[in-house]
Amino acid sequence: MTDLTKLTMAEARDGLAKKTFTALELTDAFLGAIEKANPALNAYVLPTPDHARVQAKDSDKRIASGKARPLEGLPIGNKDLFCTRGIRTTACSKILGEFSPTYESTVGQNLWDAGAVMLGKLNNDEFAMGSSNETSAFGNVVSPWRRKGKDGKLATDKLVPGGSSGGSSAAVAASLCLAATATDTGGSIRQPAALTGTVGIKPTYGRCSRWGIVAFASSLDQAGPIAKTVRDSAIMLKAMASHDPKDTTSVDAPVPDYEAVLGKGVKGLRVGIPREYRVEGMSPEIQKLWDEGIAWLKSAGATIHDISLPHTKYALPAYYIVAPAECSSNLARYDGMRYGIRVNGGNLIDTYENTRAEGFGKEVRRRILIGTYVLSAGYYDAYYLKAQKVRTLIKRDFDEAWNKVDVVLTPTTPSPAFAFGEKTGDPLAMYLEDIFTVTVNMAGLPGMSVPGGLSSEGTPLGLQLIGKPFDEETLFRTAQVIEDAAGRLPVPEAWWMKG
């Protein structure tokens, strides 16, 4: 029998419809793979096999009775930032302890209502703060990808899967689920997708409900999928997105059938190439990839236009004011009073300090401190207010660009995947990982990363597409053209299954 885990979501959907295999067989295949791979990759912080089998059996019943829903019986992973009813949810932070929500996130509920099967909770950077999945309280996620040495053999250095949705990207890349939920505040879907050869889309702010997702920075957070292919990501986003009266920032707009636009091509599409993204120190490989992307779209009939997004250089510093400011307030609720861990002290202040010192990791503490500082009296105008002004200017840059182009093409990251510890000592180097992705969050636009090729070391590289608000459809059809031209990247050799 073929390895069911190697199927794409669309293929698995067809297989279930044709009754080539059952949902339970499909689920069991993934559960088996997780059991073997997770000790090496650490993509899942909590596999939920019993839960998955119950859902899969239900799906089989529905398929048998001809009542299959759009994602019936398709096994996926769920980032630990999404609250799951009766199933431990920690945002990969110690501070939440064994917290088990009594509620399900709206995005999660949408997926289960569409028939998807949850295989387990996926690892991520603590509270989604990180670009390498090295800040999780449950330890690092290891990328299934490895560099290739000059001899053509795999090196043994462990590479990061990107972050913060590192569990999601690694699980999808290693075929430990068909697709995964993820969230993106400054690049947390697109950067890990780029580093693992997977497809990730952060939709327009407001497209997916934030209700029931542990908040990092409310004005930037947005849920989206990481999947194996452009089509799979379209299937996922269609199911995840909805208008939710429980989230007043979610938008009451119809969710289109994204799959329907995939074959439409890019003939006559105007593609913008922002000159400000040619940053100093960008690796020649990334430049080459970008040029290739331009060439693919051109030959598919798109027109290429140089554009300027003049405030791009202020995006990263402004982001690292806005995001920590919001996080410093959003994380105030983790005070040891109602749920999660509590470390008692002699008085109330000591209890707060002990609890939060014990519960939060170093990166989270750093961002809370930065955020508290930039909001404090006397600094608010100089930092937070100025950052908000930059944000307005960034939005304006894009508004002007949309007069000339329909979509923007850039690299997703300034460099290929890196090894553990390479950037952890220098927070600024780590923050630079987000340089191409944060502007999209600051402007609330949809952004997508699609694999473009491999680096000289044999590791994946991603191209980023940026679209107009609520025009995810253009991203999907453009991404499909890139995927068709670049070809799907070779599945990494399953070194983690050995031994």
């Binding site: 920032t249 105030a332 609720r333 005070d335 009296a377």
Partner: protein, 493 residues
């Protein structure tokens, strides 16, 4: 000598005497009124009072991970209505901010409030104190969440938290520093409370903590620049507001006159000792790190919406007072008393409708309110309905009963109930206007008291004694005017 008498400047009654001369006290109030609504400002939980601890708490109120606030439109409407009642600027766009601080009864770690852009801007409240009318400026009104309640007396080692109040909507109404005496401050809060109750936007129940005030007090020599102020937090009765201001003003004057300076600080009022005490100094003040709440979009509504709410506003105390004076010919004092509560005004209006307004006012204020006060009953619980009191007034008006009998009748209706006209009929309380019957009674009295008749001729004021005797013999039912006339004629005075 060239001594010339200098006309003494009339001393303002609002000044406080100190050892170094007179002082002026400057008062501004921040009144927190709980919005009358079924559910909380950002969640669907009930706002019901008196429920067991933590029984009205939603996931949002408890700040569970991933929970988001959703504005309760009814609370917004209530704030707009209140703004309109305060003749204030209504802001079609306002912004919710987060006020960040840690406390166990504040689950989110921040209070959602409105800081730079409140829903209601400047307005005014008119008050009258000792016959003097004064306009008090309102600086702003904003919506905010209430916190939960910390209970420190439930366990020897632990404090408990009740989150039933957590997230309940409050309106903070900030006055300008226009008040100059404790009496004015009390009148302001009384009037504000009355307006809120008329509008139905807050029940203003101070016993339940649904209306409380932070009182800002400073003192200065008249004409000097403003002094340093102290803020007295959470004063929860109108009487305490007066006491707190009196105490605080005197405390500040004493400090300054002893050569000291006032420290800007937050104080609390100890109702048992009748004094204010320091809570925290300016240095210890929190840095609340206000910033716009990213979970909530700016609050926006149209002018048409405001107009629609405006068109449905009830008549407010000031307008009602003016109308009562004009249409019923009431004195300003009586009108004030009657309009202070909407229920009293409504009751009065039912009694006065189609009758003599002054007589109706007299009966409502003197007999009814007097009796209600004596038994500490609210007007809603009055055993005598407006219709019954109206019937009594009718019986007086038609000369069916005398004023004295009317009081007895009121007492019967109060204790036994029933239709006043029936009672008069059945119990034979009807006034005797038959002159023949009265003449008979007068004749009998005159015949029995020849000495008094002689005395009365010399001293006409003795007439009163005869009137009393006739009334006594007729069981109070004789028409007093007729008795008077007949007596005068028979006695020849």
């Amino acid at each position: 000598m060239n001594s010339q008498k200098i006309a003494e400047k009339p001393k303002s009654k609002n000044l406080i005497e100190g050892a170094t001369g007179d002082w002026e006290v400057i008062i501004g109030l921040e009144v927190h009124a709980q919005v009358a609504s079924n559910s909380k400002l950002f969640s669907g939980s009930s706002t019901g009072f008196g429920a067991p601890p933590n029984s009205h708490v939603s996931l949002v109120d408890a700040a569970m991970p991933g929970m988001l606030p959703v504005i309760n439109r009814e609370c917004v409407a209530q704030a707009i209505r209140t703004g309109l009642g305060l003749k204030a600027q209504i802001n079609n766009r306002s912004v919710f901010d987060r006020k960040n601080y840690f406390y166990p009864d504040l689950p989110q770690g921040y209070q959602i409030s409105q800081y730079k852009q409140p829903i209601v801007g400047e307005g005014a409240v008119e008050i009258s104190v000792d016959g003097e009318t004064l306009t008090v400026g309102v600086e702003r009104l904003h919506l905010e969440q209430d916190a939960g309640k910390s209970l420190h007396d439930q366990h020897p080692d632990y404090s408990y938290v009740d989150l039933n109040r957590s997230g309940v909507a409050l309106m903070e109404i900030v006055s300008k520093p226009d008040l100059r005496s404790s009496k004015q401050a009390q009148a302001y809060v009384t009037k504000l409370r009355s307006i809120l109750r008329y509008l139905g936007t807050s029940d203003g129940d101070m016993d339940k903590g649904n209306l409380r005030a932070d009182v800002n007090v400073s003192v200065r020599k008249p004409g000097d620049k403003l002094g340093t102020r102290c803020e007295i937090k959470n004063v929860n009765s109108i009487r305490f507001i007066g006491q707190a201001i009196e105490y605080e003003a005197r405390r500040q004057i004493d400090i300054i006159e002893d050569g000291g300076t006032i420290d800007q600080e937050t104080r609390l009022f100890d109702a048992v000792k009748g004094e204010t005490r320091s809570m925290r100094s300016k240095e210890e003040a929190h840095d609340y790190r206000y910033f716009p709440d990213p979970d909530l979009l700016p609050l926006e509504f149209s002018n048409a919406y405001v107009e629609e709410l405006k068109s449905k506003l009830p008549e407010l105390p000031d307008e009602k007072r003016a109308r009562f004076i004009k249409s019923f010919g009431l004195s300003a004092y009586d009108a004030d008393v009657l309009v202070s509560e909407r229920s009293s005004a409504d009751y009065f209006e039912k009694v006065a409708e189609g009758r003599d307004g002054k007589v109706a006012a007299n009966w409502v204020i003197n007999e009814l309110f007097g009796r209600l006060n004596k038994e500490t009953k609210a007007i809603e619980d009055s055993p005598v309905s407006a219709a019954q009191l109206g019937a009594i007034v009718d019986l007086i008006g038609s000369n069916a009963i005398s004023g004295k009998i009317a009081k007895d009748l009121f007492e019967i209706v109060w204790t036994e109930g029933g239709d006043p006209a029936d009672i008069v009929e059945k119990r034979g309380l009807k006034q005797v206007t038959d002159t023949g019957a009265i003449e008979k009674a007068v004749d009998a009295i005159i015949a029995a008291n020849p000495e008094k008749v002689e005395q009365a001729k010399a001293k006409p004021s003795m007439l009163g004694w005869f009137v009393g005797q006739v009334m006594k013999s007729t069981g109070g039912k004789a028409n007093p005017a007729a008795v008077n006339d007949i007596l005068k004629a028979k006695l020849g005075i």
